[in-house]
Symmetry: D3
Subunit: 139 residues, 6 copies
């Protein structure tokens, strides 16, 4: 299995609901250093997993939708705690949707798995990984 | 699959038995930067894999049992080479036991896998990963 | 010149005033990975620059005053942009004040310089460095 | 499952064929920081996954064959784009071949999987992972 | 003294002349992870050392002039070994020239020092640091 | 001012005397990731600060003298606490002595400063920096 990985980042404000979160129930924020790994069993004719420049641009676009925002006010996250693990899934879903729409080209149809890691500090991180659905209209 | 990861560290002395270890047969030591990843297929009602503060406290307690010690004198390791890979398993077992006893709460019953990585330098590391047994009394 | 360095982190929300900040004028947030370096020309009788455990506790206390907060609402920062460089100075001043009050013990009187670095992502950071005033009442 | 990991590096020149590569079609170069992870389900009698010193020497030998070269002129890569993912597989194959020949000793016969990661910068990397064939003549 | 730092990277091919370089006399290449630190004694009215977005764009432009090239064919480097330390100075000079021309705005006139670090691998790096000349036409 | 930096590591056992050290009074150990930076105001005729391969070999030799040892039993450290800052100075002195003896060649006579950093974990480090004495017999 081949993997290509890229790194970017995101800076947001939010707060959590639930006593278990302690002081993180207050409005605070985070930088998430975001790693996206895309996997497939064989390389394409150019010898790549995916166009890495295109993948980086797609990730940048997904992060721009969230960047420099207070996630407590994002309608798509209403009623949810935007924990690091929740956001890893949100980034996964948004990148997968764009791949499914063909934004990374036909070659990206061969991608079978993705892993998204969000590093919230030098001592804590969270991830979501799953399969990418193949098909004519992809995921 | 969701993952939450935390990092801490451990400083110990030890020596190895076996000619293949060369100068590491002498009493020496190591800092292990310890990464623990906990995994589960779904988030809990709070939107988390596990209470990350609780997981960090559990890891700290496990490492405190070993920290600032000469592992050659630890009865539980008698007759064993406390290699990095061996210690990764020892940390895995001790964290798993505490999860099984409910130290991380009922929510932690949903955890299905754990991976423990010990970085012994900037150029070498070892890991142990395995499943966490579910059940009323967990592992 | 000897240096001892320690790392901790801080998670806050804030916004900036000034068109040059672009989307960072919106309420957002950051994780700052905070490095503090303490310097002195000679070691003390124990062979240390300063009690590193004490220094880590002092840094933790300073960061706890700011952690998990919306800095736009902090009275001590009213009317100021809490940029990374501004916050590096704020951490410097607060650690220096505690050293001056003797929180790190008499031995810390020998400290002559401090450098504080705040890493806001994998590609950006800011720092403040300066002298620590010696004297019977330190700084 | 146990893992041992080691890190080394490689500095090469090359160029890519294909319009999608943009300016990387020109002759340029890269440092690859190379991580090799070797895995097996049980430790050997010494308590190790593999002799880490031996593994490091094997990796060094494999990288020396490629290091400080223009890969466009390497006969074994003729007609191929030596992308990061392609090179991850090339390193995998060469290390696996040496393990198969017994270069890491009989103990290395127990290795079941390998993962090779090449970091090409602080924001991009690629990997190849696969099984290692057991047997009297190994792979 | 305040510092702001930014990180980007550069991928080039080159070769060295001189027996001391051993195999690096062959055409090979490198990724340089480039850190630029800009310093000044006081913050400006916005509370910043310099517009970090502008500084990142300037660094990107400087690196684009060199990126994905064979430095052996760059007229401006003719007859010189483009070692890591030499290139650190080249990046320093090019960023300083742009600051002097006002590319980072009037606020950047207050910058007094710069440090450029090029990381060529996980175990080697080089740097150049020096003063930035103040004045109406800056450096 | 130009800098060249190299990284290596060291694994030792030791204990500390003094109640302030708490549990570190017990025999324990550490991995030190060692960074050495060598500085000079001008490059030599080859365009380098110093032969980086030679510097790495010298550092390796210095670290080999200490590696895989119990520093409590080293005669040269008798009666001293081998703290991280103390060891940074010890590495500084030993590398400086070798430079002074000409081990890095005549070109190394131009070196004017050195900084040695020992990272003891992901959250703590210490350093020693100072001038290198020029002259026919160097330091």
């Amino acid at each position: 299995m081949y993997t290509v990985g890229i790194r970017d980042h995101l800076m947001i404000a939010h707060s959590f609901r639930g006593e278990g979160f302690g002081p993180a129930q207050r409005l605070h924020g985070a930088t998430y250093v975001v790693d996206v790994e895309l996997k497939r069993p064989e390389l394409d004719a150019d010898g790549v997993v995916v166009d890495i420049g295109g993948a980086a641009a797609t990730l940048r676009d997904v992060l721009t939708e969230l960047n420099y925002r207070n996630l407590d006010e994002e309608p798509s996250f209403a009623g949810r705690n935007t924990t690091t693990e929740f956001l890893a899934k949100a980034v996964f879903d948004r990148v997968a949707e764009r791949i499914g729409k063909g934004e990374l080209g036909e070659g990206a149809r061969g991608l079978t798995e993705m892993r998204v890691v969000l590093h919230e500090s030098h001592v804590a991180w969270a991830a979501y990984e799953g399969e990418l659905a193949p098909g004519t209209d992809a995921r």
